[in-house]
Structures are given as C-alpha cells and as structure tokens.
Amino acid sequence: MRLGHRSGVLRISEAMLAAGTIVTALLIATTFARSPNPLSSRYGYSLEKVAYDVLDVFAREGVPDAAMFDESGKLLSSPRWEQSLKVTLQGLLPRDIVFDLEVYNVTYDRANNTTQLVKLNSVGITNAQSEKAFVESGNVANALRPYTCRKFWVLVLKLTLAEMGGR
C-alpha cells in the first residue's frame, strides 16, 4: 500500500511535470507565433510597401513643392512646412501607424565634386510621442526617395513607419 501510495503520487507528479512542460512549450510558441498582422490583413501588403507608396504619392502630387516652398521657390519658415507635411502624412496613413519623416537637401560642392545630405527639418515630422514607439514596435519599415523640386532643389525623403503598440 505504501508502495502503491508513493507510486500514485509520483505519477501525478510526472503527469503534472509533463503537462507543465507542454504548457510552457505552448506559452513559448504563442510568444513566437503571433496572430496575423492586422494591417497586412486590411491592406494586403507590407508596412514597407506602404512607406514607399506614401512617398510615391508625395512625388506624384508634388507634395514637397506645395508644402515646403512659396511661389517664388523660397523655403517656407520652420516649423510651418514641417507641420504641413505632418498633416499630409496624417491624412495618408491609418491612425495606428506611427511615422517619422526626415527631409534632406542634397548640397553640391562643385569645386570638390561632392554631394552631402543636409537635414532640412529642424523639428520632427512625426506623430510618435517619442522614439520609443519605434523601438518598441515589432514592425518597423523604412523607405527613401529622392525628389527634384520645381526650383531645382534635390531632396531626399526618408520615411520610417511603425505599427503602434507593437505586434
């Protein structure tokens, strides 16, 4: 009997150990195997594609020309033009996407035949509260696009998107 009692306790312990092992495995699995990306489900393509598409809209519609320069081709004052671009991006992107746009002017040193990217926006063109939003998001995408303005500035637009709240 004593032997039988000890044997029952051991089996229960083994069964619990086995169950615990499986539960642990399932927990680990759920950590890796998340549910489908809701954005992808909604739009049918990746965040990176979205970023490129946004920049494509910018180029096709001449958004930088309209938002950044006055009629004479003079750069508008900061943060006016940055704010214009931010509003445009907010209109183009779903609310659950955080964005950060950096605008660079390419300067050309003819004497040395070199170019340099000089960041134009002095304030952030972003809807994120902090950079943490991008660090914490598991789905971050970058896109880059050159853009020739009507007044012949060559800009480089760098857009970073992230899903709000991670996966």
Partner: protein, 775 residues
C-alpha cells in the same frame, strides 16, 4: 518488475511531453521565422528603388527641359541652357548616388550617345490655299538637350541613356533610355480678307506622338507681322478672337487682321511666329517660314561694267526693308518686303550668288548689329549676338557684283538667300575684323587696310586729322578730318579749323564690320585748349567693313545757338597727306584729282576731271579766293562727287552722295556760292590737302559770318582705297582756272578707279530689289 514497469511508464509520459513541447516550440519558431522573413529578403525594396529612380528621373528630366527651354527663350543662346541642364543633371545623379549609397547604386550615363529624333522629311503647310513644302533635315539629339526651333515643325527634347546596378540587392544590368519631347507643327494659315480674320492651325504632341490637349490661351503666343509704327517692333501679338482644341493635339486660333495689312493681307498673313508652353512647362517656338529669297541688282551703269570691288554692305531691318549707305534700296513694282522673325540672331545665315542669279550660292560675310530703335546711332551692344532680332537690329551682309570679267556672265544681279538654322546650337559668325586698342589709339584691321583712330583725342596734336587709313599694299596713309569750322588767327598765321566736334569715340567691332561713334555737344578749340558744350550738338559714326576698299562716315550736327565765326570756314571732310618726316619723300601722294560738276556751265566736256600735282611749299591750288587776274576768281565751287590723292602706288578718294553735295551747296542761305573743294599745300612740311568745304575760308573779313541757331548739317562720305595711278608727264598744262600754282594733267590712270566706283554711293544709282519670295 512491476515497480520498474510503472517507473518506466512515468518516464515515458515525460519524454512524450518533452517531445510534444519541442514540436510546439519548433513550429512556433518556424512560424515566427516565416513571418519575419520578408524583413531579411527586402523583396519590395529593390522594386521600389528601381521604380522610384525611374519615375523621379523622368520627372526631373521634364523639369530640366522646361527650365532649359525657359532660359533659352530669355537668353537667345542655347549654350547657357545646356550648361545649366548638364550641371543640374550631374548634381541630380550625384544626389541619387549619395541617397542610395547604402544599397550600392551604380549609374552609367553616356550623354554623347546620339539618337534620331526625326528622319529627314518633307513638311507641307497650307498657306492661304497654297501648299508650301519645307524640307526638314534629319534631326538628332545628343548631349542631353536639343531644340530644333524656328521652322514650321519645331521640337524640344531631352534624352538620357541610363544604365544602373543595385549591387546591394544583387540587381545588375538595368538599362533604360528616357526621351521626352514637345513637338509643334504649324499646319495651316488661312486669312479672310472680307472678314478680316486669320485662322492658324497647329498641332502639339509630346514624346511617343501623344497629343497635348491641355493648352490654355496663356500658354500660346502668336506673333504676326504688323509693320505699323517706326521704332516699334513689327512683330505684334495677334489679337486672338478664339482658341479651340480639335482633338489629337490639333488647335486652331483665330485672330484679327491688323489694319496695316490692307491689300497685302494674303502676303503678310503668311508670317507667323508661334510659341507654345505645355503643362510641363516645356517651351517650343515655330516660324511659318524658313527663309527669304531676294534678287538685288546693282545700277552703277546701264550695262555691265567689270568692277570687281563693287561690294555692297546691305543692311536689312526687322521689317525687311534693305538699306545701303543710309538709303533704302529701290524696289521693283509689286515687291513687298518680308520681315525677319524675332529669333536669336546667331541663327541667321546669308548666302548669295557670285555669278548672277542662276549661279551657285555661297555663304557671304554677315553680322547682326544693334542700333537705336530709330536706327540713327549704333549702341554699345553693337555686336552682341545673345539677343533676338528686334527693332533696332540690322542684319548686315555683303554682296559682290560684277567681279567676273566676262561680259557673258550677268552678275549685275545676284540672288540672296537669307535663312535661319533650326538647330539652336548654331554658332554666331567668326570674327574677321580685328580691333586693337592701344592707349588713345584704336586700330581696325579689315584685311585690305588698317584704320587708325584717335579714339580719345584730348587736346593732342592728333585732335584734327585724327583718322588715318593705312594701305596694306603701298604702305602709306592719308589722314582725315571730319567736320571743323571757324579759323583762329595767331601770330604769324592762322589755325584752322578753330573748332572741332570733340569727345571720345566708342569703338566696337562685330565679325565683319567695326564701328566708331560718338554723340555729344562737345566742341573743342585746340588753339585755346578749351572746349564748349553749348554751341553744337553732333552725332557721327564710322563704319569699317571687312575686306572692302572703303569705310563710310555719317554726321549730323545742329548749332545750339547763334554763333559768330572769327572767319568764315566750314570743312565737312578733308584729307591730308605727308608728315614732318617725309617732306622730300616720294612715298607721299603727290597728285590730286577732282571730279567736276558736269552740269556746271564752266565744265568742259573733255575736262570733267581736274588732275593736278601738289607743290613743295605753301600754295593754294584750288580755292574760291584765288584771283586769276582781271578780278576773276577760280571756280573752285565747281565740283562733283569725289576727290582723290594718290601717287603711282597708292591712293585714296573721298566719295560724297548727292544729298551731301546738296548740303554743302545749301549750307549758306545767302545764295552765295561759297562751298568748294579746296586743294592746297600747307606751310608746315608742305602737306597735301583736299577737302569738301561748305563754307570757304574768308580770310579777308573777320567777324563777318554767323551760323544761326538750329542750323543743321547732315552729311555722309565714303573713303576709298585704291592702288594709285600715273599722269602723263608730257601731257600737262597750266591753267589757274583749273589748278593754280602747279601743273595740271589732261588725264590720269588713277581716276579710272574713282570714276568707276563713286556711283555706288550716289542715291540715283543705289541697287534695286527686283523680287522677294518666301519659303
């Protein structure tokens, strides 16, 4: 045994559980890996990069072409447009490389590659019911941008052969050729004389023959020929009544006929200059005609005379009228001048025949000059070619007549073809005239002679005879004084002229003709080292054409106040030869010939020209003041249209037109004949002088002559270089009525030249425009 069996069953459960757990974790990892795989593969990125570069390149090239054509419209020089376009394109490509440096973008662009834009073709344009055919030569594009404008079919284009690799993505061998263009075709011009309306149709296509249907009225500029007011451009904006789009890139624009067309509406409506800007901002300009054919006849003799130096420098104005030596050419009946379109002046080319109208045509020397809008004076921009042909511009070209000795060849008429290149890379003509500035001196080298001018005379010894024509062959020179008046009495003699027009000359040269000009109210008084600014306004210019035997001079002056002269004297143009260093030398001109007035009753039919020799000391040879005994005076007021000084190797003549002779004759309003040709030998170094004077020097009556306020003097002359001639030494005579104080000669071989060419400069003998056709 039972105990062992139970223990093993427990271990099996754990083993199975561990296995199941391992499977679950593996599957989860696999799913996770799968879900993040795209971030490693970047499959989207290279597509997007290639597409972005493709799209951005096209849009950038559009903007480059738009800006380049805009610059060209304003500058009339395609080089700055191309330089700008290439510079910006280089900057753009470098920007691309910089932006995509992280993915290893490599770009190869060969702008020297050439592409056929259009093969050679015949273009037909319906002009008032008549189909005109234009040959459009093959058009190619290279070096980034190209513009073929100013013909009925014009095109602006940009072309980039592009090759790229994206090494970061392992993407190699991407090749693309980007060609963007805008083509404008003038299809028809139809005018209604009854409705006084003209309908212009044209077509606008972009690359690939895609119609442009977005033009608005403000995108189109229609210039038409309206020869209205003098001093204003004869190309005016059409008064558009209606603009309509007919599909397929076809437009029609209806505008009012200008009132100046009158009965010439059918002819004048054919001249259209059209500019279009599409919605990309790309410009293109077309002209409804590509050239003007003229037949111009010389008239110096009823039948052909061999005169190989009969070279005319014609000046064609914007309205198509043609001038020579300040006079508009005669026109045969029915001739209506064709205007020169407002295109960059470097596009023009002028061709002419050399052996008559049926001969081959050759490119002739030409240039475009900029004068004041009323064409009275040159401007500092005289030879600036970076401009459009406008009011104030002259297209100047040379045509040579009667240079074939054969009487069978009728080269009294030459065909002239004025055209313009459609290739906007056409360069301006090269310079043939060389102008050197050295201190106060300016020298024009025009092949046959040097013209030296004291351009900043100050009060130097060169203030009076400050222009010197040096022969390259013969090696000597004669100096000229252009207008001088009054005489200053000094101890031991007289200084004349006392007063001269002063001020510095502006000196400029174009490719085939130089100019020196000045306009002011400065009168210098050399004996007193003074200047006045309230007595006489004057403007004058000297034109020095390349490789002709002559230069020309034109003067207009007006007295600003009543002016009493110390002694009556007004010389219009005088020539003087001999220097202090060559008094005894044979290199000096020693003979003078003077054409007499054949209508003067004192002129004998066998003595139409006086040929005399100069003295070695101060004497007068021809002067109204020379007494010939019995109270008679020499009739020095009998003169014609030329005078000349020469020796056996060298000579120069002064030709005046009829209007100048009349100005000399009529300057004095009292009715006295006190104008003359004065020939004399000076006291200083026995220099030789011959001059046309409007007022002779009245040395007997001081303070006896006034020039009234507002009296005008408008005169012209040509100075002609020739190779001299001889007189028959045993065939002289002495007749003070003809030539005092030295021998006169009944003939001279030198006068053959002057007596042959002087008619070129007479109004009655100016050339005639026989016909004008436009194509």
């Amino acid at each position: 045994m039972a105990k062992d069996s139970k223990a093993r069953r427990g271990q099996a459960v754990i083993i199975v559980a561990l296995f199941v757990s391992a499977v679950i974790v593996s599957m989860a990892l696999a799913i996770s890996r799968t879900s993040t795989e795209h971030q490693l593969l970047r499959s989207y990125s290279y597509n997007e990069v290639v597409n972005d570069i493709d799209q951005d390149l096209s849009r950038t090239l559009e903007r480059i072409l738009a800006e380049a054509t805009r610059i060209f419209v304003g500058s009339a020089d395609f080089d700055p447009s191309r330089l700008w376009a290439k510079d910006f394109f280089t900057y753009y490509v470098k920007s691309l490389l910089n932006a995509y440096s992280g993915i290893g973008l490599q770009v190869n662009i060969d702008l020297s590659k050439s592409l056929v834009l259009q093969p050679q073709k015949e273009l037909k344009v319906d002009i008032n019911g008549v189909t005109k055919t234009f040959i459009i030569n093959e058009r190619r594009i290279t070096d980034l941008i190209k513009a073929y404008w100013y013909s009925p079919e014009s095109i602006s284009a940009i072309y980039v052969p592009f090759a790229a690799n994206v090494t970061g993505y392992g993407f190699y061998g991407w090749r693309k050729e980007v060609l963007l263009s805008l083509t404008l075709d003038i299809l028809s011009i139809r005018t209604s004389t009854s409705k006084k309306l003209t309908n212009l149709t044209f077509r606008v296509l972009r690359e690939g023959g895609e119609p442009v249907g977005s033009l608005r009225a403000q995108d189109i500029s229609v210039l038409i020929y309206d020869p209205g007011e003098t001093g204003k451009s004869c190309w005016t904006n059409a008064s558009v009544v209606d603009l309509s789009y007919n599909g397929g890139g076809n437009y029609s624009v209806v505008y009012n006929n200008p009132s100046s067309w009158g009965s010439y509406a059918l002819n004048r409506s054919q001249y259209v200059f059209l500019r279009v800007k599409d919605d990309r901002g790309i410009y293109v300009e077309a002209a409804s005609f590509t050239g003007i054919n003229l037949v111009i006849k010389e008239n110096i003799a009823p039948t052909k005379v061999y005169a190989p130096d009969q070279i005319y420098v014609f000046e064609m104005l914007q309205d198509g009228s043609i001038y020579w030596f300040g006079e508009e050419l005669k026109e045969s009946s029915g001739v209506d001048f064709a205007p020169l379109p407002p295109l960059p002046v470097k596009q023009f080319r002028v061709f002419a025949t050399t052996k008559g109208t049926s001969g081959n045509i050759f490119e002739v020397p030409y240039q475009v000059e900029t004068w004041t809008p009323d064409y009275t004076m040159p401007t500092p921009n005289f030879a600036d070619w970076r401009r459009r042909f406008d009011v104030g511009n002259k297209l100047v070209f040379m045509v040579n007549y009667t240079q074939d000795p054969s009487s069978v060849v009728d080269d009294t008429k030459q065909r002239v073809f004025i055209t313009w290149f459609d290739d906007t890379d056409a360069q301006p003509p090269t310079y043939k005239v060389v102008m050197n500035v050295s201190g106060a001196w300016v020298t024009y080298n025009v092949s046959r002679y040097y013209l030296e001018l004291v351009a900043r005379p100050g009060y130097s010894n060169w203030i009076d005879f400050s222009i010197s024509m040096w022969a390259k062959t013969g090696g000597y020179h004669i100096e000229y004084m252009l207008v001088g008046y009054d005489v200053y009495r000094m101890s031991g003699g007289y200084w004349f002229p006392k007063k001269l027009p002063g001020g510095d000359w502006v000196t400029v040269t174009g490719p085939i003709r130089g100019v020196a000009y000045r306009e002011n109210s400065i009168i210098v008084v050399p004996p007193l080292t003074q200047s006045l600014t309230d007595e006489h306004y004057h403007r004058e210019y000297i034109l020095i054409p390349f490789n002709t035997p002559y230069f020309t001079w034109q003067y207009y002056g007006r007295w600003l106040k009543n002016t009493q002269l110390d002694y009556r004297y007004l010389s219009v143009i005088g020539q003087i030869s001999g220097t202090s260093g060559d008094q005894e030398s044979s290199i000096r001109p020693k003979y003078c010939s003077i054409q007499l007035d054949p209508s003067n009753p004192n002129t004998k039919p066998d003595r139409l020209i006086i040929n005399g020799s100069y003295h070695t000391s101060n004497v007068f040879h021809r002067d109204l003041g020379i007494s010939i005994g019995g109270g008679k005076y020499q009739d020095a007021d009998n003169y014609g249209y030329w005078i000349a000084q020469y020796n056996e190797r060298f000579g120069q003549g002064v030709f005046i037109p009829q209007a100048t002779r009349e100005a000399l004759r009529n300057f004095d309003k009292s009715g006295k004949d006190i104008d003359e040709v004065w020939a004399w030998t000076t006291a200083d170094y026995a220099r030789r002088v011959s001059e046309f004077d409007a007022l002779d020097w009245d040395y007997e009556n001081a303070k006896n002559y006034n020039v009234n306020k507002d009296t005008e003097l408008s005169v012209r002359a040509a100075i002609w270089l020739f190779s001299g001639g001889t007189v028959p030494v045993d065939y002289y005579y002495q007749d003070p009525k003809d030539w005092a104080n030295q021998n006169a000669y009944k003939s001279s071989t030198a006068v053959k030249t002057t007596d042959l060419y002087y008619k070129m400069f007479l109004e009655d003998y100016r050339p005639t425009v026989m016909s004008i056709t436009v194509g």
